[in-house]
Symmetry: C2
Subunit: 397 residues, 2 copies
């Protein structure tokens, strides 16, 4: 916190669900959010709605809890309106904490309201400082504690089990008149996705962003989540990318690409190249190295096999590429499914032990399909600890 | 948009998942988010990552789509850093759209970054305006289109089916030596929650905020989601509050409270009072009336039965109340599970046809338990169209 010369931090929001900074500092889920204030070198203070005080105390992360009511919310809201109560509550808390220096505001909120809040607080004499991303709090969240690592590992084990169950189910599909069936139903992307969703629920996970199960040409667009009506067919590449979240708030990200039956030479080349690129990336990751270096290693493998990579764009040789390795190598995973640190050509900060990142090269060929392999790993002083032990196989049958 | 004299709006974010404003304007889910710019009386323009361009075009809501790359992202990011690219991209787009008047920034993002973005844009001469909540875009989102209403109704039908399935399952629990069993397993809150989660998945829904299933004293805290190890017991009040989201992005909110076996006089009084309070609230809702009026009606019913309500707090007669009706009557539902309009003592704006709100009075008695009944309804010119036709019964057996 000292680094940017701020005296205090304020984290606000009316929910912790889509507010990872607030969830991080309060240590769990508060349905109506709250106001968290920490003065440098002092204990933090948390104000919540009456409804959430019990939960806030059970979470126990912040010792000094109070309610909005204790800070006079109802009177302030009656005078200034509910929406304008925040700046007055924050100002009161800052004053009572003796904070009169620079303050950073955190929490994921609507920007129009955030700009209004900052303008109003500034008008009241509070010295609000903006921060470029990654912010101080995002940087704090980059490095995971032992408890956080165990939370992520646990989601990883459950996620791998789901993938294995689905692969086994795909292996058991029955062929009838040239089409694949599960029990008596035609095996489609939609049917398999229903099974995945049910397994996610049974495992006490949620997948609010859905799951990618894309077959054939759908897989050529890395974020096409797959067309429900597409039939599962032999010989066609399937990209299965699953990213669930546990009740702890922690996510996991895992992709396997494969096909039923026999692979043609094109699919084999994609698989071998992406597999090698992932290993090159994984081998180069270690505390002290950079995301840029890992990205470069993966690109080199892919380029040597004759495919394009985004390096061309970053080196100014092309405005964009239509095929090949079109995205970056990975991203952090924690209380969000995509956060700092990133593994891209712009990632020049040394990686640190305790960071958790995905390593997910992919190659995409328009009209043909795509192939991506992704593990989520922990950066250590010696290399990586791969949370995913699941096999990587092209042909499953 | 004219109302606040802004010439353009900018909606930004690196994901649409936890960014309802961005999801609303682009018409669906973009994994990496984007920059949406609309000049008053002109067609909107959307810039996305290369990865999401295909999805953005499929969604079709914004006709003028482009990629960050086309706006020079890679060069800008190489020069100013990835995090500082946004203000330069936004500035370029505003210039090319001929916007030089007041601009509001929307999208749910980290405030520290949002304040930085606004400060930088202002430094470049852009006239950024803050807005108190509900913002212009939140107000636009309050009134649902026909398509949005159908999306919400559809989640509602699925949600009611899940509740019915769970109630039927509870009815079939077997009593052995004074304890309740499901198949051979002891019936606990955790076991029933697993069944709920699996049903949510099978219905193609997600419940990223979890589900409340609280029995006995746990239910006295309106946001206690229930203790997994708590056994299901006869005669104890159970609060079952489920709030899932569909792939369309739309949510639903439904609560039933009940008990297995016979109710004592206390439970019966809670049920009858809350049931009547909900009807009083529902009866008073109509386009043109206010949330405050509905809240007042519900409080009057509850007070007449001898319980406390938050009215005491709003009228300054108490600093807070420890039991009774401790929260407000309801909130809007749409691309978020809690949004404007609210039904509270602070809700003085006339309600409009097309708004979708919950009506959810509850009474909470510390150490004993709680009882809440909640429907999600559409405000119409004549009254309400209740999306929930599910029975309200105290005793299920």
């Amino acid at each position: 916190m000292t680094e940017r010369e701020i005296q205090g931090i304020v984290v606000v929001g009316d929910t912790t669900l889509s507010n990872p900074d607030l969830r991080y500092v309060v240590g769990g889920n508060l349905a109506r959010g709250g106001i968290y204030v920490k003065r440098l070198h002092h204990d933090a203070l948390l104000a919540t709605s009456n409804l959430d005080l019990g939960t806030a105390r059970r979470l126990g992360r912040v010792k000094r809890t109070s309610t909005f009511t204790e800070w006079g919310f109802e009177g302030i809201a009656a005078k200034y309106g509910r929406a304008n109560a925040y700046q007055h509550l924050i100002k009161s808390i800052l004053r009572s904490e003796g904070i009169d220096g620079r303050v950073s505001l955190y929490g994921r909120n609507d920007l129009a309201w955030g700009v209004h809040l900052a303008d109003e607080l500034r008008r009241m004499g509070v010295r609000i400082a903006g921060e470029s991303s990654p912010t101080t709090l995002e940087r704090a969240r980059e490095t995971k504690s032992r408890r956080e690592i165990e939370n992520i590992r646990e989601v990883g084990i459950k996620t791998a089990n789901i993938v294995e169950t689905v692969l086994n189910m795909l292996r058991k599909l029955k062929r009838k008149r040239g089409q694949l069936y599960f029990d008596r139903e035609r095996a489609t992307v939609g049917l398999i996705k229903k099974v995945i969703a049910s397994k996610v629920g049974e495992a006490d996970l949620v997948a609010p962003e859905g799951t990618i199960l894309a077959i054939g040409s759908s897989g050529a667009d890395p974020h096409n989540s797959g067309l429900a009506s597409d039939p599962i067919k032999e010989g066609k590449l399937i990209v299965f990318d699953i990213f669930p979240q546990a009740e702890t708030g922690y996510w996991f990200d895992l992709t396997r690409s494969f096909l039923l039956g026999r692979a043609d030479a094109k699919a084999r080349s994609l698989f071998d190249t992406v597999y090698s690129a992932q290993n090159a990336g994984l081998d180069s990751l270690k505390a002290g190295t950079t995301g840029e270096a890992a990205m470069l290693r993966a690109c080199q493998v892919i380029e040597r096999a004759g495919y394009k990579t985004v390096r061309e764009v970053f080196e100014g040789k092309a405005k964009e590429i239509q095929s090949g390795f079109t995205h970056s190598l990975g991203h952090g995973v924690g209380l969000t499914i995509g956060e700092s640190p990133y593994l891209s050509f712009l990632s020049r900060d040394p990686l640190k032990s305790g960071q958790v990142v995905t390593v997910e090269p992919g190659i995409y060929l328009p009209r043909y399909g795509g192939l991506r392999i992704e593990d989520t790993v922990l950066i250590t002083g010696k290399g990586v600890d791969n949370f995913t032990t699941l096999d990587k196989e092209l042909e499953i049958s």
